[in-house]
């Protein structure tokens, strides 16, 4: 299901350019995005803004920040292409309707990143992907039971 070593180094450095969903993703940046149901555990966080996360040395990073406009909180997110090219979110017709989207292609998937004490322990939540329509700027968090909740993003040195 999830392949090893699937992200080429090149895609990490040129983030948006080499990302198949780059157009949709770029269109979401710095735009108000509405999650009518909020995120799981945060039903009142409905309005967000997606921002690029540039690391301190001004290098582009694969990360984006989903900033809540309702509360003081934010979620680091990453596009699934940076994690696994095989990852696809199941899309059904009612989902398209609820997001005001006409085709699955206009939905941009994003995965929430859990940053922990150690860099090596960083994980990506494949079980609770976000889907955002690039047209309506409406999003939802899905739950896909068969995917892991904590997929390692970085393989640390063996201890």
């Amino acid at each position: 299901m999830l392949q090893k070593n699937c992200v080429a180094k090149a895609t990490m450095t040129s983030a948006l350019d080499s990302c198949p969903s780059a157009v949709g993703l770029a269109g979401l940046l710095n735009h108000e995005i509405e999650f009518p149901l909020g995120l799981l555990g945060f039903p009142d966080c409905r309005r967000f803004m997606l921002k690029r996360f540039a690391s301190g040395d001004a290098n582009e990073s694969p990360f984006f920040i989903l900033d809540s406009l309702d509360q003081e909180l934010s979620f680091p997110v990453i596009h699934p292409d940076f994690v696994s090219p095989d990852y696809t979110v199941p899309i059904f017709p009612q989902l398209l309707d609820s997001l005001g989207a006409k085709a699955g292609a206009e939905l941009v998937p994003l995965l929430i990143v859990t940053v922990r004490e150690r860099v090596e322990d960083t994980t990506v939540n494949l079980q609770g992907p976000l889907l955002i329509s690039a047209q309506s700027h409406t999003g939802v968090q899905l739950v896909v039971e068969e995917f892991p909740l904590r997929h390692p993003l970085v393989n640390g040195p063996s201890r």
Binding site: V7, L40, F63, V119, V143
Partner: protein
């Protein structure tokens, strides 16, 4: 909590458009069928709670910005073998 008994094949209606049916019984396991509108989220409770909890962890990670920089550097600075698992 409302507690009621149902036999195999019998159902419980919740509101106008949700029906829960006992489909099979074996040992201490019950298989239930759920009919609900698509917009109603139906999940095993432990999975629902796990995703909620993971969201909270992700949102409240102290020093997340600094460490995210470190993660980005790590991803950039290393070869293909270090990304993904």
């Amino acid at each position: 909590m409302l507690v009621l008994s149902r036999r195999m094949g019998e159902s419980v209606a919740i509101g106008d458009d949700i029906v829960i049916t006992v489909v099979a019984l074996s040992g201490n396991q019950v298989r239930i069928g759920i009919e609900a509108p698509r917009e109603v989220r139906v999940l095993r409770q432990e999975i629902f709670q796990a995703v909620q909890e993971e969201n909270r962890l992700a949102a409240n990670a102290a020093g997340a910005t600094r460490r995210l920089e470190d993660v980005a550097k790590k991803l950039r600075g290393k070869g293909d073998d270090d990304i993904g698992a």
